[in-house]
Subunit: 168 residues, 2 copies
């Protein structure tokens, strides 16, 4: 264990400016937000936030994202009921990425019915790399969305699906 | 433990198309790549990749990103020597985010000399939320960059710094 050069708990110079202005919003007014499981640390998904989404997330204590495909606020779990209780929000060195620690209600973060969205692993053993599905579906997507959604949707290409990741 | 609806190991329909075409590159030809520690699972940083960066990452076994600020490939650790040995690459459900599991050489992923880039935590106890620095600097940035870099750089705002996160 290396001796720290600085103490961990310090005033951040960014405290002088508004907390929302410390975030480096991109040209669309968005910032990527990584959600990880508050207990296991597992990376669940990546979505996007605008100012209103971050503001409501902090106020409500539940993750609210900006759905780029639908052009509106997306209260994660609004259809499936699988909300994300936010335990911590972090900002990176450049201020252009957020990291949320969440309690994922229902244990399923992905709209495909898997625990998380990163279920394809690159395998490079063969002649050319291939993506292989390595995580099981633990809840039928039809069940997640009350039968009102095509359960095959998760197996189709995103551009045909017209839905965004964890889109519920 | 819920009974899986599907078995985890399956053919991915995307195997039919080229592995790089399964990635949904954005309008700039980029995709966000989250790097996590292969052992602890800690989220280290988020950077961006284009096709060439991903191709070289897979070929070399070390993380190569696309530096948006410099407009060129960024071989992580090219200055500091703190490379990232890539153990696994995952793709999310929509194909628009990569997740890398890496062994971070030197144990310092952030150009500020911290283990990871997410060292500011939002505290909402007071009247208004504030970002607080909660991770120690374990390597002096001046040491990381061989004295050729302003050691104060890490304490300045990104727009004044002109450098990207983990920019080494």
């Amino acid at each position: 264990m290396k001796k720290p050069v600085t103490e961990p708990e310090q005033e951040d110079p960014d405290q002088q400016i508004d907390w929302q202005d410390a975030v480096q919003w991109n040209e669309q007014g968005l910032v990527p937000a990584i959600a990880r499981d508050a207990r296991s640390g597992a990376v669940l998904m990546l979505a996007w936030m605008n100012r209103a989404a971050l503001e409501e997330t902090v106020r409500s204590g539940y993750a609210v994202y900006w759905s780029r495909s639908r052009g509106r606020l997306w209260r994660k779990g609004e259809t499936s009921g699988h909300r994300q209780r936010v335990r911590e929000i972090r900002l990176d060195c450049d201020g252009d990425t957020l990291l949320l620690s969440v309690e994922q209600e229902g244990g399923v973060a992905c709209h495909t019915g898997r625990r998380h969205c990163f279920y394809r692993r690159l395998e490079v053993d063969g002649e050319r790399p291939v993506w292989r599905v390595v995580e099981a579906v633990i809840v039928d997507p039809a069940e997640l969305y009350g039968g009102g959604r095509d359960p095959q949707a998760a197996d189709r290409k995103p551009e045909k699906r017209g839905a965004e990741k964890g889109d519920d």
